[in-house]
């Protein structure tokens, strides 16, 4: 009995020593990894910082003005003026067509459209593609 106990004890000591050894090295590796990662984070942050500054520089009004002047032939950009504003009513929306008759109703059902139609400013056979910028508003 004592022998088995002794054996178990020795096995436990060996086991725990192995475990401690393992954990020790795992911890060291983890610490090393943390160091590497911290270095990477610092480098990335610095890169982000540099890129932000570069972005600010590339978008500086001075530089943009210079580029606009340089590419005037192709782009023909102009300063925004008061004539850039207008009312919604003056937007040449496509004319509203009569809605399709719902199933189960007769096609001859009276659908009054004409009275509610807005005054047509311009005729558009098909709706022009909507600029992406509109969807935000």
């Amino acid at each position: 009995m004592t022998r088995i106990g002794l054996f178990l004890l020795v096995a436990a000591v060996v086991g725990s020593a192995a475990w401690a050894y393992h954990v020790n090295y795992k911890t060291r590796n983890a610490l090393d990894r943390i160091d590497v990662l911290r270095g990477q984070i610092a480098a990335e942050r610095e890169a982000v910082e540099v890129l932000r500054v570069e972005w600010a520089y590339l978008n500086s009004p001075e530089r943009l003005t210079r580029l606009v002047a340089k590419n005037n032939e192709d782009l023909q950009l102009q300063p925004m003026g008061p004539e850039g504003f207008d009312t919604v009513s003056s937007v040449p929306f496509p004319p509203r067509t009569a809605p399709e008759a719902a199933p189960g109703t007769l096609r001859s059902d009276p659908v009054v459209v004409s009275e509610r139609q807005p005054i047509v400013v311009a005729r558009v056979p098909q709706p022009a593609p909507r600029p992406a910028a509109w969807s935000r508003q």
Partner: protein, 587 residues
């Protein structure tokens, strides 16, 4: 094992023998007796001490041999580089001042064998450095000399490519102003304080950098950029227009500010000539008034001429001595002692108070001011902040106080009523006009986003309304008719002030032409004050210098550019819609 046992037995055997010798035989052969002598204890103590010392040494040696040396590590979060100085941004988050990692270049002159050759090579990389200076530093009898700081990574690479061993680098943070000239006068600059090879503390000098130095260096606030009230887009547009106007009228310089009428926030502050803050000129030789580093908008002190008539008229209306339609005698020159105040153009014998402003009569304004009295005019001007330094967040602000007459006489009152004898900055004037436009509640200028709450009521709402109407008439039928714009109704007042001649008197042919505008006039939102220094309009047969021909058209062009950027919609129906011109086409 056997050896040890042996050793132990020998010691044990010997000890009793020794004792026997000393004490003269109280023998109990081989066993240790319980009582021990002093000598025994001394011996044991020595052995223990030896064991302790050698044990400690051995333990330490073992530890040193077994454990790898590691740098001490800090717990949590550390190890990530934090910026040394907070950023400055405009009201929309565009960076005005930021940091870049850079390098400093220094030299150990003892390692330089051929200073002349190295100086040549370095001068080729740094064109702004003097070769002789470099040579002197490279051949210095010391172990250390700065070459240049900060330098960019590209310059560092170029120096590395030279391959000289004595040239060394330290890391350094570089302050950079991405907006360049556009915001040059605002941001100011930084200087390196307490610098060494690897590190330099950047301390703000001048401008916002100087004023908010503590805030920008506070570790708790470094992460959040300091947001100014400036709108970089508006600033750039205003600078564009102003530069074009300066060129057209061959002005020596110009300044313009745009102020929010309700909060006092400055949306733009331009001063020309300007400079690139990334290459700030260290020295300037030439007349001080043309120094590009000088911020005319905040620190220029000018007699702003007839624009002051608006303040005179508002004070007179507010105090109740006249109404807008009260007739004022303007036909003849006003004599006061040996001075005579007269108008440049022939004026009708009598004009209403409104017309005195609209047609800009010096005599009318002076008479109005005399009726109002010196104490009351002074009181109004004082409450408008005309006598105090600008409460603006710039390091130099504390030094710039308005120039008052040394002795304020009734004559001073009369001349100041039309803007001579009191020199203030354009921002002073903008704040006064903003106060008038803000239903008479005091507006304090600021460069910080958010602005101030309106202050005390200086003018009544009624006076404010009447004055807005009068200023609108100035543009509709008065001196600023060239300021009429399609889309926006503006109001304002022109001012053409003869420039003060150093040594006394005034120049005949040098003026400061100013236009102070409020727009949109029926619902005031912004004040623009625009000044041109010595403009000349040579488009006609006669050279013209009046603000109506110089400052006003430039200001109108400026408002046309910046009003849409400030988010102001043109008045409905005042313009042919742009969309009507668009033809939509389907496929």
């Amino acid at each position: 094992m056997t050896m040890k046992k042996h050793l132990g037995e020998r010691i044990r055997l010997r000890l009793p023998a020794a004792r026997r010798g000393v004490e003269g035989g109280r023998s109990e052969s081989g066993s240790v007796r319980p009582g021990r002598t002093r000598e025994d204890w001394r011996l044991i103590l020595v052995v223990l001490a030896m064991m302790l010392v050698y044990g400690a040494v051995g333990l330490r040696m073992g530890l040193l041999a077994l454990i790898e040396p590691v740098e001490p590590r800090m717990a949590g979060g550390a190890g990530v580089t934090t910026p040394l100085r907070g950023e400055i941004a405009d009201r929309n988050g565009n960076l005005l001042a930021a940091n870049l990692p850079a390098f400093s270049l220094y030299v150990d002159p003892t390692e330089i064998k051929d200073p002349a050759g190295v100086a040549d090579d370095l001068a080729a990389i740094f064109p702004d450095e003097d070769r002789e200076q470099l040579f002197k530093r490279l051949s210095r009898k010391a172990r250390f000399a700065w070459i240049k700081r900060p330098i960019t990574p590209r310059q560092r690479q170029a120096v590395l490519d030279l391959g000289y061993p004595g040239l060394k680098f330290g890391s350094r943070v570089m302050r950079i102003y991405p907006a360049g000239r556009t915001a040059a006068h605002l941001v100011g600059g930084v200087q390196a304080a307490s610098e060494d090879v690897r590190f330099a503390e950047l301390v703000g000098s001048g401008g916002v950098e100087g004023y908010f130095d503590a805030r920008l260096r506070n570790p708790g606030q470094i992460g959040t950029p300091l947001e100014l009230s400036i709108d970089l887009t508006v600033q750039a547009a205003l600078r564009d227009v102003l530069a074009a106007g300066t060129k057209r009228f061959r002005a020596k310089g110009a300044t313009a500010v745009v102020m929010d009428v309700r909060t006092g926030e400055l949306h733009a502050m331009v001063s020309l000539p300007d400079f690139d803050p990334n290459h700030k000129p260290k020295s300037y030789s030439g007349p001080a008034e043309l120094d590009p580093r000088f911020n005319r908008a905040a620190f220029g002190r000018y007699e702003l001429g007839s624009t002051f008539k608006v303040l005179t008229a508002a004070s007179a209306l507010e105090s109740g001595i006249v109404g807008p339609q009260t007739m004022i005698e303007t036909g003849s020159a006003l004599a006061f002692g040996r001075y005579r105040i007269r108008d440049t153009h022939k004026m009708p014998p009598e004009m209403t108070v409104a017309d005195v402003v609209v047609r800009s009569s010096n005599v009318g304004a002076a008479r109005l001011a005399l009726n109002l009295g010196t104490p009351r005019l002074k009181d109004y001007l004082k409450r408008l902040g005309m006598f105090e330094q600008l409460p603006l967040e710039l390091a130099e602000a504390a030094r710039a106080k308005p120039l008052l007459p040394p002795r304020w006489t009734d004559l001073s009152t009369m001349t100041i009523s039309f803007g001579h004898g009191l020199a203030v900055s354009p921002i002073h004037l903008a704040a006064a006009f903003a106060t008038l436009a803000n239903d008479g509640r005091r507006v304090r200028p600021t460069l910080i986003k958010g602005g101030h709450e309106p202050g005390e009521q200086i003018f009544s709402t009624a006076t404010s309304r009447v004055m807005m109407q009068i200023m609108r008439d100035v543009v509709r039928r008065g001196t600023a008719q060239r300021g009429q714009l399609a889309g926006y109704d503006i109001g304002g007042k022109t001012g053409t002030a003869d420039k003060y001649r150093p040594g006394g008197g005034y120049y005949n042919d040098r003026v400061i032409a100013t236009f102070a505008a409020v727009f949109p006039i029926n619902e005031p939102r912004f004040v623009l004050v625009l000044s041109l220094d010595e403009p000349v309009d040579r488009s006609g047969k006669v050279e013209r210098r009046e603000a109506s021909r110089t400052a006003v058209p430039v200001a109108a062009a400026a408002i046309e550019r910046i009003a849409p950027l400030l988010g102001l919609r043109p008045q409905p129906g005042s313009l042919p819609g742009a969309l009507a011109a668009i033809e939509t086409s389907g496929q």
